[in-house]
C-alpha cells in the first residue's frame, strides 16, 4: 500500500516538473507597431499586406509572416533574438524601405515602420442620408516624378461589421461603389445605397471606409474605418 502511494507521488511530481524540462520557453517578446507615413498610420486591407521577419544564424531559414491589420498596425509574438525585417517586393500600396531593417528583440518592442505611400486619402467625410452612405475625400499624390503612379479607382465600401475592405468578398464588403468622376482628385464624391437583407437583423449603424486602387499596385490604401450611426 505504501509503495503504491510513493509511486503515485513520484509520477505526479514527474508529470508536473517534466514539462519545464523538455519544453522550449514560449515566445515572450511582443513586437508591435504601425506602418506609418509622417507618423500617420496607413490603413490597408486586413491580412492582405504583410512583411517578413527573418532570424539569421540558423541553418534553415523560413520567414515569419507578419500581416498588417486594417488600421495599419501589426503585432507579432516572438522569441528573444536578432531579427531582420524586409518587405516582399510588390506588397502594399507604398514604396517600402529599400534597406533591410535589423533589430534586436529582448522584451516587448514597439516600432513604427516608415514607408512612402503613392497616394494618401485626405479629408475623408462620411454621412448618412435616407438609406445611403455618402462620402467625400481628396486624394493627395505623395510620390511624384518617375515613380509616380496614377489612381485607378476610388471606392466607397460599407459593411455591417468592423471589417471593411474590398477584397474579402461578402465578408468585408456589403456593398461598394466606385467614384464615377476622377477628374478632380481633390474633390471625390461617392454614394452607396445600403442594401436591405431581410435575413439579417436591423441595425442602426454601418461601417464605411474609402479605398484607393493605384494602377499597377495590387493592394489598396484605405481610410480608417468609420462607424456611421443613424
Amino acid at each position: 500500500m505504501k509503495a503504491k502511494f510513493y509511486i503515485f507521488i513520484f509520477s505526479a511530481l514527474l508529470l508536473v516538473t517534466s514539462c519545464s524540462l523538455d519544453n522550449f520557453d514560449e515566445p515572450n517578446a511582443m513586437f508591435s507597431g504601425n506602418i506609418v507615413y509622417n507618423g500617420e498610420a496607413i490603413p490597408v486591407a486586413r491580412n492582405q499586406v504583410r512583411f517578413q521577419l527573418w532570424q539569421p544564424g540558423y541553418a534553415l531559414t523560413a520567414p515569419i509572416d507578419v500581416a498588417i491589420a486594417q488600421d495599419g498596425s501589426y503585432s507579432s509574438r516572438l522569441f528573444t533574438g536578432e531579427y531582420k525585417l524586409s518587405f516582399v517586393p510588390g506588397q502594399g500600396p507604398f514604396r517600402t524601405p529599400t534597406d533591410t531593417i535589423f533589430f534586436e528583440l529582448t522584451g516587448d518592442k514597439a516600432m513604427d515602420i516608415e514607408v512612402t505611400p503613392y497616394h494618401m486619402i485626405r479629408n475623408s467625410q462620411f454621412s448618412y442620408t435616407a438609406g445611403s452612405v455618402n462620402a467625400s475625400c481628396a486624394v493627395e499624390q505623395i510620390i511624384t516624378g518617375a515613380d509616380a503612379k496614377t489612381v485607378e479607382r476610388v471606392t466607397l465600401i460599407i459593411n455591417r461589421t468592423l471589417f471593411v475592405d474590398a477584397n474579402s468578398g461578402g465578408e468585408g464588403s456589403l456593398a461598394q461603389v466606385d467614384a464615377a468622376d476622377l477628374s478632380d482628385l481633390d474633390n471625390i464624391n461617392m454614394s452607396v445605397e445600403i442594401p436591405s437583407d431581410p435575413k439579417k437583423p436591423d441595425q442602426n449603424y454601418i461601417f464605411a471606409r474609402i479605398g484607393v486602387k493605384i494602377a499597377g499596385i495590387e493592394d489598396m490604401i484605405y481610410t480608417q474605418v468609420q462607424k456611421i450611426e443613424f
Binding site: 523560413a62 517586393p89 477584397n167 468578398g169 465578408e171 461598394q176
Partner: protein, 629 residues
C-alpha cells in the same frame, strides 16, 4: 521413457533436415519482382514500364476530377460541398503547385536503363527512348507553366550517404530555359516518333509538334505580355522572359503548328463527320472510332479497368442513371459569349426596354448562335441520351409574381386553378439545391452518350484530348497575328469558325487580340486551357480582380478579353401563366446571381506562379521564392 522419444525424434529431424543443398534450396528467383535484366530484354515488359510512366502524365484538367475542368467561374458547381468555392475570395499561393521529381527520376532511370539494354531491337529501343523523353518534356512543360523555371534534372542522381547532400541541390533554371528545353526535346524526337495520325494515346510526331507549338506560344506570350506586369518576375529570370525573345518564340510556334497543318505529321484535320454542326462538335470529344482531330489523348476503356465518372457527375439530374449528376453548370457569361451566326456578339435577349421577351419554345432564345454552344452546353429544351431535359424555374403570373417549388418537379395549385400542376422543372433550377441546373445549363462537352456511362458500376471511357487539331489552328492563328500576319491568322480562325457554322468569314482587318482570345475561350472551354491563357496573357489579375459583378455589367462587353470573370451568373427560364393573354404558356427569362455566390474571386500577383513550399526550400536553399510570396 516415452517422453524422450519425441525429443530424440525432434533432434534427429533437425540434424537430418539440413543437407548440403540448402544454399540452392533457398536461392530462388523471386516470383513477384522482375529484375531489370528481365524487363529490358522483353519489349512488352518495357512497354508496361512505359505505360506506367504514361499513366502518370500530369494534366491540369482531368476527366476524373470534374472541378478541375470548370474552374475560374466559367461554370457554377452544383454540389453542396463545393459552394464555398464561390464564397471565398481567391486562391492560396500554393494552389496548382506540382513538384514531382520522383517522376522525373523514374523517367531518367528508364532512359538510362533502356539506353544500356542490348537485347532490344534498335527501332523499338529508339522509339521507347523518344517516348520517355516526350513524357519528361511534357512534365517539365507542366511544371514551368505552374512554377516558373525549375531545376532541370536530366539524369538520375544518387545520394552517397556522406552526410552532405549539397551536391544534389540544384538552383532553378530560368523560365525561358525550361521552355527552350521543351521545344528542343520536341524538335529532337519528332522524327524518331512514328508519323501516325491513328496512334492517339502514345507519343507521335504530331504530339511532339503539338507540344512544341503550345510551349513556344506560351513562352512567347509570357515574353510579350509579361512586360505589362513587371511585378511578376524575378531578377534572375526564374520567372519572366525578356520581351526581346517573344518574336523568336512566336515564329517557332507558327512553324511547328504549320508542320501539323500541312500534314507532314500525319493526316490530322478538323473533325467533320456529322451534318448537324452542334452534334458534330459534341461528337468530336466522344467519337474514338474515326477522329482525325485528336492528336494526343488519355484513353480509357470500359471493361478494361480504366474508366472515369465524368458523365455520372455531370449528367442531367432528370432521368440520370444514378441519383446524382448535374454538377458543372456553365455560366450565363460563357453561354452569351457564343456569337450569332453572322459573327456578331449579342447578349441573350431576355428583356427589351425593361419588358420581358416571350418565347414560344423554351430554347428559342438560344437560336441562331454558334453551333459550338449547343455542342458544349446542354441548353433548356434540348436532349441528352435522347431524353429531354426539364430545366425551368417556375411560373410567372400575370402580376409578375412567381410560383416555384423547392424540390425537383414540385406540384402546386395555381391561384384560380383547381388542380395541382408542376411549377418547377425536374432539373430545377432551384437555388441551392445541388445537382440541379442552377445556372440554367448543364455541360455537354465530354459527356458520354453511351448507356451506362452515368452508372457507377459501368462508368465512361470517353477519352481526354490533350492536344487536338483545333487548338493547333488557334495556336497558329495567334502566333501569326502576333507576328503581324493578320490575314494568315484570319485564315486559320475561319477554318475553326466555319465548322462552328459562322457564316461571315473574318478578314485580316477583323483580327485583333480580343478575337483570338475569344475564339480560344469558346472553342477550348472545359479543356483545362483557359487558365493558362489567362496567366500567359497576364490577364488573370484583371478578369479576376475580386470585385463582384453587377447585374447591369454582366451582359456588357461580350467578347472582350478583359471582361470580369469573378462570379458566374445564371439565366432561368420561366413559364408565363395568364389565361387569355396572347403570351400565356410562353417562356421568359430572368438573369440572376445565385444566393450561394457571395464571394468574388481575386487573383493576386502571387498566384501567377505557385508557391514553392517551405519544405522544398529547407531541403534546397538554392531555390528562389516566386515573386510576391
Amino acid at each position: 521413457m516415452k517422453k524422450y522419444i519425441f525429443t530424440i525424434l525432434l533432434a534427429l529431424f533437425l540434424a537430418l533436415g539440413c543437407s548440403k543443398n540448402d544454399e540452392e534450396f533457398l536461392d530462388r528467383p523471386p516470383s513477384s519482382i522482375l529484375t531489370q535484366e528481365q524487363i529490358f530484354t522483353d519489349p512488352s515488359a518495357v512497354l508496361s514500364v512505359l505505360g506506367d510512366l504514361y499513366n502518370r502524365y500530369e494534366d491540369f484538367g482531368r476527366l476524373d476530377d470534374w472541378a478541375s475542368l470548370a474552374d475560374f467561374n466559367i461554370a457554377y458547381w452544383s454540389e453542396a460541398g463545393r459552394y464555398p468555392a464561390f464564397q471565398n475570395d481567391g486562391w492560396g499561393f500554393g494552389s496548382w503547385g506540382i513538384w514531382n521529381y520522383g517522376y522525373i527520376r523514374e523517367i531518367n532511370l528508364f532512359l538510362e536503363r533502356c539506353e544500356e539494354a542490348t537485347e532490344l531491337e534498335a527501332s523499338l529501343k529508339t522509339r521507347f527512348l523518344a517516348e520517355a523523353r516526350f513524357l519528361r518534356a511534357s512534365y517539365y512543360f507542366e511544371m514551368v507553366k505552374r512554377m516558373g523555371g525549375v531545376p532541370l534534372i536530366l539524369e538520375s542522381e544518387t545520394y552517397d550517404f556522406s552526410g552532405d547532400a549539397s551536391y544534389l541541390q540544384h538552383p532553378r533554371e530560368t523560365e525561358a530555359a525550361i521552355y527552350d528545353f521543351v521545344i528542343s526535346e520536341a524538335e529532337a524526337i519528332k522524327d524518331i516518333l512514328p508519323t501516325d495520325a491513328d496512334s492517339k494515346s502514345r507519343a507521335t510526331k504530331g504530339a511532339a509538334l503539338a507540344m512544341e507549338t503550345r510551349a513556344a506560344l506560351y513562352a512567347a506570350s509570357i515574353a510579350k505580355y509579361g512586360a505589362t506586369t513587371p511585378q511578376v518576375s524575378l531578377p534572375g529570370n526564374e520567372v519572366g522572359i525578356p520581351a526581346s525573345m517573344a518574336e523568336g518564340y512566336y515564329t517557332k510556334a507558327l512553324t511547328a503548328a504549320q508542320a501539323i497543318i500541312s500534314g507532314s505529321a500525319g493526316a490530322y484535320a478538323l473533325y467533320n463527320s456529322k451534318p448537324n454542326l452542334s452534334e458534330n462538335f459534341e461528337a468530336l470529344f466522344y467519337d474514338k472510332a474515326n477522329n482525325p482531330e485528336a492528336i494526343f489523348v488519355e484513353d480509357y476503356k470500359v471493361g478494361g479497368g480504366k474508366t472515369h465518372y465524368f458523365t455520372g457527375w455531370n449528367q442531367p439530374r432528370f432521368g440520370a442513371e444514378e441519383e446524382e449528376g448535374g454538377r458543372i453548370n456553365p455560366s450565363l457569361q460563357f453561354v452569351q459569349s457564343f456569337e450569332l451566326l453572322d459573327g456578331t456578339y449579342a447578349p441573350l435577349a431576355n428583356e427589351v426596354g425593361g419588358n420581358p421577351v416571350y418565347y414560344d419554345n423554351i430554347g428559342d432564345i438560344f437560336q441562331g448562335r454558334d453551333a459550338r454552344l449547343a455542342g458544349t452546353v446542354i441548353l433548356p429544351g434540348t436532349t441528352f441520351k435522347s431524353k429531354p431535359v426539364d430545366i425551368w424555374a417556375g411560373i410567372v403570373l400575370a402580376d409578375g409574381s412567381i410560383v416555384s417549388g423547392d424540390s425537383r418537379g414540385q406540384e402546386k395549385t395555381l391561384p384560380g386553378g383547381t388542380e395541382q400542376v408542376q411549377v418547377v422543372g425536374f432539373d430545377g433550377p432551384i437555388d441551392g439545391l445541388e445537382f440541379t441546373a442552377q445556372s440554367g445549363f448543364y455541360i455537354r462537352k465530354y459527356q458520354d452518350p453511351n448507356t451506362g456511362s452515368g452508372r457507377r458500376g459501368t462508368q465512361s471511357d470517353v477519352w481526354f484530348i490533350r492536344y487536338r487539331f483545333g487548338e493547333v489552328l488557334l495556336n497558329a492563328a495567334e502566333a501569326a497575328f502576333e507576328l503581324g500576319q493578320p490575314d494568315v491568322a484570319a485564315g486559320y480562325l475561319n477554318q475553326v469558325r466555319a465548322r462552328a457554322g459562322i457564316t461571315t468569314p473574318l478578314t485580316g482587318g477583323d483580327v485583333d487580340f480580343d478575337r483570338i482570345a475569344h475564339e480560344r475561350y469558346v472553342e477550348l472551354a472545359f479543356e483545362g486551357l483557359h487558365f493558362f491563357d489567362l496567366k500567359r496573357w497576364r490577364l488573370a489579375h484583371i478578369v479576376l480582380d475580386g470585385n463582384p459583378i453587377s447585374e447591369a455589367e454582366v451582359t456588357q462587353n461580350i467578347g472582350e478579353a478583359t471582361k470580369r470573370e469573378t462570379q458566374p451568373y445564371s439565366i432561368w427560364p420561366y413559364k408565363y401563366h395568364n389565361p387569355g393573354d396572347p403570351n400565356d404558356g410562353k417562356y421568359l427569362y430572368k438573369i440572376l446571381r445565385l444566393s450561394r455566390i457571395t464571394g468574388a474571386d481575386r487573383f493576386q500577383f502571387g498566384n501567377y506562379y505557385s508557391e514553392i513550399g517551405q519544405d522544398l526550400i529547407n531541403n534546397n536553399p538554392k531555390l528562389v521564392r516566386n515573386p510576391n510570396q
